[in-house]
Amino acid sequence: MLRIDLGSRVSVYEQIANGLRAELVSGKFSPGEKFPTVRALAINLGVHHNTVAEAYRQLANEGWLELRRHHGAIVRERDKPAAGPDTMERFKRPLEELIAKGLADGLTPQLLAGEMIEAARRLGGKIFP
């Protein structure tokens, strides 16, 4: 299920790309499988189709999708990229900000840690069997 919040400060196309990436990472789509059409997803979300198309282009640039004119988007076989030295650095900053927000809202470090492990298991099911 893809969820977006039109009131969020994060742009809509980014939310769509993030949500779809989560679906792809979790292995819900197999390589070669058809993705929903841009128009169908735009209608279901109540946004302009250009917004969804932008999200699809981003996922295509990341190697997740192959965009074929008049044939929609196809899920690609994607090799797992090797994490570089700055990969974790780029990841740590927003993660720390998110954890700080959770702690400020009253969540405990144990709860947050448990939730993170659970999310990692759920999304990367094939990696953590």
Binding site: M1, R3, I4, L41, I43, G46, V47
Partner: protein, 370 residues
């Protein structure tokens, strides 16, 4: 002045007057047939309609509706008595306009209790293909095949539309004399109507945004959408049969020609009863009250922001890719006037009945010029 026989006048007046009364009855019940988180096209808390303020607004609305319908009925009867049968459609539109004014006033009284609709949007990414049109493409192609069969029969037997069509009336009660009602005009008008209805059918399958992405609410919506699609499909078959019927029956002023009026009344009655039992978007199915979204605890409204609803009934949102959205006050779907395809559908629907008029005028002008 030539007046049609009295039994024809009574049949037409009874059928159109009956539809006007049905319209009044529908408006009476409509506030209870919409989604609970919408009241007079305004997003409110789901329980608002059962609160004192909600009930008071409904009471005022129904009193005004009774007065407006009574006035419309008086105008209808007086118009028919003084100006003849040609006034019947005018009386009908007086009733529709009065109904809108009453709705608009009730909406104004509801606005102070408005709540912001949720900004959350959900979509099922791995959606199964749900068949919306009963019978699929074969059933959708049926009316066109039927039209071709009727047209071929008429062509082979050399039957043309009679010069006078007693189902067309001008304001003084005389039958309109459309000399240009040829087989070609019959084909153009009927196929034009069929194409616009088919666009609506296709739109119900592809261009509707569901309010709910999953769960029992989604299943109810699908049932409502399928029922609406079935009604449009039946209407398509009815259009072909009615148009062909008028051509096949040769007598000019016989009751056989106006039988289509009471038939249309029965059709409208059945449609309203079926849709009212489902409630808007299937919200009355299984006697269950519509729940809030499983994800957000706040009322969801119909996920179309209030500001895009002009006068509470016209949806205008260029940033929404959906062509059809659920009506906020009514049963069925409304067009998104912010999309270009909507104007094409409207133009096609409005221009089709003008084809015989234009053909007649052009022939008249050609004769006048000669």
């Amino acid at each position: 002045m030539i007046h049609p026989p009295i039994y024809i006048q009574v049949t037409i007046a009874g059928a159109i007057g009956g539809v006007a009364m049905l319209n009044a009855a529908l408006l009476w019940f409509m506030p209870r047939l919409t989604r609970p988180d919408l009241y007079f096209a305004v997003t409110v808390s789901p329980g608002f309609r059962d609160e004192a303020e909600g009930k008071s607004i409904l009471r005022g609305y129904r009193i005004e509706l009774m007065i407006a319908s009574g006035l419309a009925l008086a105008a209808f009867v007086a118009g028919v008595a003084l100006l003849g049968i040609g006034f019947v459609p005018v009386g009908f539109w007086v009733q529709v306009l009065a109904g809108f004014v009453v709705f608009y006033r009730a909406r104004g009284r509801t606005l102070p209790y408005a709540m912001p609709p949720t900004m959350i949007r959900e979509a099922e990414v791995q959606e199964k293909h749900n068949r919306v049109i009963p019978g699929g493409r074969i059933a959708a192609a049926g009316p066109f095949v039927l039209l071709a069969i009727c047209a071929t029969y008429l062509g082979i037997h050399g039957i043309e539309t009679p010069a006078r069509l007693s189902n067309h009336w001008i304001i003084n009660g005389q039958p309109a004399d459309f000399q240009s009602h040829t087989l070609l005009i019959y084909l153009l008008t009927t196929s034009g109507t069929l194409i616009s209805l088919t666009l609506v059918l296709y739109g119900l399958a592809r261009w509707v945004r569901p309010v709910y992405a999953s769960g029992p609410e989604r299943a109810r919506e699908l049932k409502f959408r399928r029922t609406t699609a079935a009604i449009v499909l039946v209407a398509e078959y009815y259009v072909v049969l009615q148009a062909s019927w008028v051509l096949f029956v040769r007598s000019n002023d016989g009751l056989l020609r106006v039988i289509t009026f009471p038939l249309a009344f029965v059709f409208v009655l059945v449609v309203l009863v079926v849709l009212a039992r489902l409630g808007q978007g299937g919200s009355r199915l299984q006697g269950l009250k519509q729940k809030s979204s499983a994800v957000s605890a706040t009322p969801v409204g119909d996920r179309t922001p209030d500001r895009y609803w002009k006068l509470g009934v016209f949806y205008f949102n260029p940033d929404d890719s959906a062509i059809f959205v659920e009506k906020r006050f009514g049963l069925g779907y409304s067009l998104n006037f912010g999309r270009p395809i909507t104007w094409f559908i409207l133009a096609l629907t409005l221009m089709t009945p003008l084809i015989p008029v234009v053909a007649h005028l052009s022939r008249f002008l050609a004769r006048f010029g000669a």
